[in-house]
Symmetry: C2
Subunit: 297 residues, 2 copies
């Protein structure tokens, strides 16, 4: 396994692979690798001879300095995970390698960055778009792999790749979950055992909404009320948002849903040991509106 | 000579050339090719086996719909010029090829886009950065060639390429001039013969300032006053800006100049036959402050 820090080295490596006719898959991460990332790496392997995992805690996508400082960093452990998973190249740049002195070029996906997580995290998706562009230019991949858990990020990256014209296939990978359904996240460690139990309400809210849709419910407000009720069963949960939106454009859903619709949740829980601070968990599901009826005549 | 319209075709072409070990030079243009563009093409030829000229009147860098509509379009003549100049590939996309339905991804060089032409043309450099990024991704060049006449654009593209990490060498080419010194521009045709004569004041202003610097003048305000006086010798000239700035950061020059300093001008003249409309001409020179003294002890 190669460990590279400099974008120029990575480009030279990519040029050699491409000249030899090999395909490259990029898995962008912020490290703290868990089985969710292993699913991304496995998907990458199915698409390319060379799997590149980038590990970079991107400062420009954090809103709060405290959140950036608290983000887990464990490069040695991550390298061991990558080696074990058969990764070919780990790209672990320093901040200066991607944002050099005087750096001032930003990338924005102007509409998709606004709603959902963008509403409470100003600048977050500008940071995501700006770093993903840099990573795609550095790694020159044929395929880039992202998790569906960060659904808005995936939609935004698809749009960015299409708009700027990168010849990169964006692959989304289904969310990996704990046995009780909680989506894996490097933030889950910040929950006390009691809040960890309560955090099941996110997936239970998604399941309840899906069951309702399968039973014929397609009224937006009824589904939102149902989803919120499920989240509110956790005494310590505080809803950031519960929303129904178009899965591609992220436009708000109409009063009567007419096709597959994204249900997206963001919920705060108190953070372990930190009075006042919270852990913000997200989850989502595309509800199969209109599909059951078509499939079962 | 190949004529391509689709970014995917251009990328496939670039991949083949790169796999064969050939170098690619891109010359981005908006068409209406004149000898200034031929100098860019000649420079490109010195750097690469394959010269790609893009011809695209980029709508996102125009502030006024009238200016966009009036911009000269003459693809057949431009193709003849390119063929004659030995260009290998002309890339002439339609608007839809670079800005498809729902396109919303923008690129900004946040500081360099603000002063000089950016001050009176809001959004202009966002449009430039957004289209140059798309063109670099489509053409995959080793070298990209820009004229020094659009000095701010050249500085901004250099910054963009460095910040996003494109493995592209940006080459600046000295401005090509008429016999009397007027910088070539596709906008010059909009001047009446009388205003065409008057337009010489731009280059005369630059020459006067350079002569003053060579004679030892390094006071910012004295040089600005001198440059403005020269422009004001044209009865129909209306100054947009006359400024002294750092050639790389475009930061305002200090009261006492201490090193090479950009003198940049933008001047309006009444437009031929169009009551009230104007033609805006720009020109610039890097004044050799502090260099003469060093070279002649």
């Amino acid at each position: 396994m190669d460990l590279l820090h400099n974008p120029r080295e990575l480009q030279a490596h990519a040029d050699r692979l491409r000249a030899a006719g090999h395909r490259i898959a990029l898995v962008p991460t912020m490290g703290a690798l868990h089985p969710g990332h292993l699913a991304l790496i496995a998907a990458a392997r199915r698409h390319a001879e060379c799997v590149v995992v980038s590990i970079f805690v991107n400062p420009t996508q954090f809103n709060a300095a405290a959140d950036l400082a608290a983000y887990p960093r464990c490069l040695e452990a991550d390298l061991a995970v990558c080696r074990e998973a058969g990764v070919d190249v780990v790209f672990a740049p320093q901040e200066n390698d991607l944002y050099g002195p005087g750096s001032q070029t930003i990338v924005e996906v102007t509409e998709l960055q606004k709603p959902l997580c963008g509403a409470t995290r100003p600048g977050h998706f500008r940071g995501v778009a700006s770093v993903v562009t840099r990573l795609l230019i550095a790694a020159k991949p044929h395929v880039a792999v992202f998790g569906e858990k960060d659904f808005q990020q995936l939609a935004l990256v698809r749009r960015l790749v299409r708009d700027l014209g990168f010849d990169v296939e964006v692959v989304g990978v289904p969310t990996v979950r704990e046995p009780d359904g909680l989506a894996l996240s490097s933030r889950n460690v910040h929950l006390t055992p009691r809040r960890r139990q309560q955090a099941r309400v996110l997936v239970e809210s998604l399941r309840a909404a899906e069951a309702a849709v399968c039973a014929g419910e397609c009224r937006r407000d009824a589904l939102l009320a149902l989803a919120e009720r499920e989240v509110d069963k956790a005494p310590d949960a505080r809803i950031d948002y519960v929303e129904l939106r178009d899965p591609e454009s992220l436009a708000p859903a109409p009063a009567q849903l007419v096709g597959p619709t994204l249900l997206a949740l963001a919920v705060h829980f108190p953070r372990r040991g930190d009075a006042g601070e919270t852990v913000r968990l997200i989850d989502n599901r595309v509800l199969p509106v209109g599909q059951m009826q078509e499939e079962a005549p």
